[in-house]
């Protein structure tokens, strides 16, 4: 494995925030629709679902889909009124 400063820093940050209890992408997917609705209702899903929040902060793929779902739900809900 080749290390340069950038990878090393990325790795250090990833390791620094590593906890024993982390959910995977499947569990995140299971709850992300509830998370998004809660957020759009002005609630605080990060507090209610900290493991989902932590996964979204760590996993770029899940985060990207979460953002996309937010946009999609906003767009399709607004247009219904």
């Amino acid at each position: 494995m080749e290390l340069n400063v950038e990878i090393l820093k990325k790795m250090a940050r990833a390791i620094a925030t590593t906890t024993d209890k982390e959910i995977g992408c499947d569990d995140c997917f299971e709850f992300v629709d509830i998370f998004v609705e809660s957020q759009l209702q002005g609630k605080n899903p990060a507090e209610a679902m900290p493991l989902v929040e932590a996964h979204l902060n760590r996993c770029a793929n899940c985060h990207e889909e979460f953002e996309a779902l937010l946009v999609a739900i906003k767009a399709t809900t607004d247009n219904n009124h």
């Binding site: 494995m1 290390l3 400063v5 250090a12 940050r13 590593t18 992408c25 629709d33 996309a68 739900i73």
Partner: protein, 208 residues
Amino acid sequence: MSERTNQEWLDDLQGSNKDEAITDLRDILIRGLQYSLSTHTRGDIELLVEDFAQDALIKILDKLDTFRGESKLTTWAQKIAIRVAYTELRRKRWQDVAMEDLLPEDSGPDFTPAFLTDPQATPEQQINQRMIVETVMQTIEENLTDRQKTAMQAIMGGGMPLEVAAERMGTNRNALYKMIHDARKRLKRELLAKGLSTDDILAAFDSA
């Protein structure tokens, strides 16, 4: 478009109003995808979006009995459509990049050239940085499997999406996440045992 409750959606999608309900749901999926993809994809997305919506619809109808009603059915369905769309877009975007291209050719033990990209550091800092890189390298070599190293290199070093890396490695995104999580936990423990905290690492490279 008619507003349905979750129960009405379920009844309609499985009952005599099936065709109308499917058409309505497809319209919602298409609208949602158009918005969420417009910022990510250049060019004409109309046809792409219709394909994604169609593929998602098949999955959604197939999984309908797993819907637990904890969100709106339409939110749940859009979540599935977005997964379908992003999976395909990532696959397309990375189709010409081989995983091997993202791995070092034959790095061997000599990693100094790639590491010495921090000309701002003082000689003392450089010695400290070199010590840390050596420790991390050694810890990686001693503790991670080849698959863990390959995945971390491709994702952290090469920017390959987790999902694409998983597919190339013959596994799935969830399993690869867990494999990397195991690697992170192991490295954290082993580095600490060697007296190196992540704060030390970040502090040593803060100027870089």
